[in-house]
């Protein structure tokens, strides 16, 4: 089991999904229950209201007028209908035009008002128990009897409640089943989606420490994003590691010859008895040591460039500032050599995105190369356009052709006057690090080497 280090495991995804699905089911269940109860109540009310109106209509048709008196020959069928709500108590009365009760229970509640319509439903109480009533009006226009006769019949709510409950119960059973299926599918989907994660951690754990090749695994989109980032991170690590390795190899390669040469010279000097010749040898050792110093500077500079390529944040900068800085930094060198550098910049900013320090280092190397290998007059310039370029020109012939083909590829041989070719390698690395390239050309007797970068045209 690897040490978790700074990784803090929070609630598992499965638990989170289970919580979310559970919450949805509970909330949904509450909503569905409320809806089902409301619907059940509504359905039960409509069903049993029809029963009431049927019974009332039955009774209304049984009203007859005899000798100017309304008489109700109460039909059994009305009560058979009411018996469809088997356990409910029944209350009824028939009220004449003057408000007297013709038959039935005088305690039966009346509606608040008799509307113009034929029937009205209303809630009431039958001996303290809630009940539902209908009042149905039949109008008579006989010679001996005229006016409305109202049939009022109601019953308690047991059957309605039973029906509403059974409707809600059925809805809940369906919901429960649906919930169980939902939970099952959610569980399966999450389990399936998370399966690549242990595969990735297994693959990483099984790797050799030096293996930084990208992971090639199929994964859902969200996990694939993480995998891509991980692969990018490993690629950067790989580049750094390769570059560091190359740097060490190069440094060893570069330093071995001059150090060996100095040692041989020092031995010679030690065994030389002639003071004049020893002085010459010592002078050569000094030269060699100075060259070695420059070489070390360049190696370190290159190491810094490589390091910065992956670490330094890219900022927006003006290439003219870089050019000015380059001139300032190499001022001593040119004054010493008695050569003048002409700065060729416009009054418009040349904006690029990159690392000012790396770019300045590259420009410095181009300029010192021109100083050491080229012919004055030497110019340093910045131009804008489709590509922004930082260029150096001199009146020399340029480097040998093979080196111009692959600038800075390798720099095994020491150049004339201590030049090593590392300078160009640095420029190339900076160019690549900024997504640009090195361009070399001869024009009108001049040799121009340019560091071309993706520009930001105005």
């Amino acid at each position: 089991m690897p040490d978790p280090g700074g990784v803090r495991a929070t609630l598992s995804l499965k638990s989170r999904v289970a919580l979310a699905v559970g919450s949805v089911l509970v909330l949904g269940g509450a909503v569905v229950l409320a809806t089902a109860l409301a619907y059940g109540r509504q359905a039960a009310r409509e069903a049993y209201d029809r029963l009431l109106i049927g019974a009332a209509a039955d009774i209304a048709t049984a009203i007859s007028i005899r000798n100017g008196v309304a008489l109700v020959d109460m039909p059994v069928s009305a009560f058979e209908l009411m018996s469809l709500a088997p356990d409910d108590r029944i209350q009824y009365r028939v009220v004449g035009p003057n408000g007297t009760t013709l038959t039935g229970d005088p305690a039966t509640p009346l509606p608040d008002a008799f509307p113009g319509t034929e029937s009205v439903f209303y809630d009431g109480a039958f001996g303290g128990e809630p009940a539902r009533y209908v009042a149905l009006t039949r109008r008579f226009a006989e010679r001996s009897f005229s006016g409305p006769v109202r049939v009022i019949i109601g019953h308690t709510l047991l059957a309605r409640r039973d029906l509403a409950r059974s409707i809600a119960q059925n809805a809940l059973i369906v919901l429960g089943a649906a919930g169980a299926v939902m939970a099952l599918f959610a569980w399966l989907a999450v389990s399936r989606a998370l399966r690549p994660l242990p595969r990735i951690s297994d693959a990483l754990a099984a790797r050799e420490p030096t293996d930084l090749t990208p992971l090639r695994l199929a994964a859902p989109k969200e996990v694939a994003g993480m995998l891509t980032a991980l692969n990018g991170f490993m690629a950067r690590l790989d580049r750094q590691s390769v570059a560091t390795g190359k740097l060490i190899t190069d440094a060893a390669h570069q330093l071995r010859t001059p150090v060996a040469a100095i040692r041989v010279q020092a031995q010679l000097a030690a065994s030389e008895s002639d003071p004049a010749r020893r002085d010459r040898i010592v002078a050569r050792i000094q030269d060699r040591a100075a060259g070695l110093g420059r070489l070390l500077d360049q190696l370190l500079s290159r190491a810094m460039i490589i390091h910065r390529a992956d670490t330094a944040p890219a900022t927006r900068l003006d290439l003219r500032d870089v050019a000015v800085e380059i001139v300032e930094k190499t001022d001593d060198l040119f004054v010493q050599a008695g050569v003048e550098v002409m700065l060729d910049i416009s009054d418009r900013p040349v904006e690029v995105t990159g690392d000012a320090l790396s770019l300045a280092e590259a420009g410095k190397n181009l300029l010192t190369n021109a100083l050491h290998h080229g012919q004055p007059p030497i110019r340093l310039g910045v131009t804008n356009g489709a590509v922004a370029s930082l260029w150096v020109s001199d009146c020399g012939p340029g480097p040998p052709w093979d080196m111009a083909q692959t600038p800075g590829e390798r720099f095994a041989k020491s150049g004339v006057g201590g030049g090593s070719g590392i300078g160009l390698a640095i420029v190339r690395e900076v160019a690549e690090g900024h997504g640009g390239r090195i361009a070399m050309r001869h024009s009108e007797g001049q040799f121009v080497v340019a560091l071309e970068l993706p520009g930001r045209p105005e």
Partner: protein, 352 residues
């Protein structure tokens, strides 16, 4: 060990309503539990059942009150309206009265294994239970009727009454529906059952039939030969008498025979409801039913000694149980009663 006190109350002593016909006390006076049982059932019929029950329960005392059905109804309704319970168990043969009381919310609910054995048409709202099973029969005098004259059905009865010089004129008796709640219920049930009822009433009226009050009286007079035929008599009384009197014959009409169940309810808020429940459970139990059957309160047509009750044709098609359901409320309707009783009075003008 059973102390029995019987108190006869003379009916004629108080013309006012709501007087018990009879009260009796069963079990020790100092018993822990007392059940006040009000019923329309003749004590003589129910006595063995109650005695057996009390004998097995030394801690229970039963005060039995025998009432006329109309009185029992009005007494219980008044009790209910006043929010008190004068009885712990009420058993009435006038099922429509009991349905009305339950409908008014006067009954307490109770459910047990015993009540669950009842068929649905013999129970309502877990507040009313049909405890007996009594066919409504025709009683005739065996000596005075030739076998050809025996009215197997209502149609036969109509035929007997049709001739203007019929010897049955004035010698057929039935319940007075105004005096007896049971009589009203039976007549009302007849009116729902078949159109023969109209013809029968018309025939009764034309032939000067008798409408009178009580089962015992009617049966006695059939035995003595004053009446030849009694129509719509409750089977329990008829059978009991017929067993002792060879002159009496009992038959179940073959067009249809009403089957009546005495309905029991526990008044809401009664003090002895626990004991009343126990008594109800007993009446519905195997033992209780066996006792009721021995007293002819549970009668199965076409079973056992077929000699006691004459049955013609298949039993399944002739039985018409009077179900305990809200349709009986129609029998309680003021206008309906008025219409019904007016027809009745038209048929029996001599009563008024």
């Amino acid at each position: 060990m059973i102390r029995i006190a019987v108190l006869l109350v003379c009916l004629w002593q108080s013309a006012a309503a709501q007087t018990t016909e009879l009260t009796a006390d069963f079990g020790p006076a100092a018993a822990a539990r007392t059940i006040v049982l009000r019923s329309t059932t003749d004590l003589a019929v129910l006595r063995p059942v109650i005695e057996t029950y009390v004998a097995a329960r030394p801690d229970t005392r039963i005060v039995y009150e025998q009432w006329g059905s109309n009185d029992l109804y009005s007494l219980t309704a008044v009790d209910c309206r006043n929010g008190r319970a004068g009885a712990d168990l009420v058993i009435s043969s006038a099922a429509h009265h009991m349905i009305d009381l339950v409908n008014e919310g006067c009954a307490a609910s109770y459910a047990s294994d015993a009540t669950a054995t009842l068929p649905p048409q013999l129970t309502w709202r877990d507040q009313l239970w049909g405890v007996t099973r009594e066919p409504v029969v025709v009683v005739y005098n065996r000596d005075l009727l030739t076998p050809e004259e025996v009215p197997r059905s209502r149609f036969d009865l109509l035929d007997l009454l049709r001739p203007t010089d019929s010897r049955f004129a004035g010698r057929v008796a039935t319940y007075d529906i105004e005096e007896s709640g049971l009589g009203f219920l039976l007549a009302f049930s007849d009116s729902l059952e078949a159109t023969t009822f109209g013809g029968l009433m018309e025939a009764f009226g034309r032939s000067g039939s008798i409408a009178t009050c009580c089962s015992a009286e009617i049966i006695d007079r059939v035995a003595s030969g004053e009446y030849l035929i009694a129509y719509n008599v409750l089977g329990s009384y008829a059978l009991q008498r017929a067993r002792q009197d060879p002159r009496l014959a009992v038959l179940a009409p073959e067009d249809y025979t009403l089957i009546l169940s005495r309905a029991a309810m526990i008044p809401a808020g009664s003090a002895g409801s626990g004991a009343a429940r126990d008594l109800l459970d007993y009446l519905l139990s195997q033992d209780g039913r066996a006792m009721l059957e021995a007293q002819d309160l549970i009668v199965r047509l076409g079973e056992g000694d077929g000699s006691t009750i004459e049955v013609f044709g298949p039993v399944e098609t002739l039985e018409r149980p009077v179900g305990l359901n809200p349709t009986l409320l129609v029998a309680m309707d003021t206008d309906k009663r008025e219409i019904f009783i007016r027809r009745w009075r038209d048929a029996f003008p001599q009563l008024h």
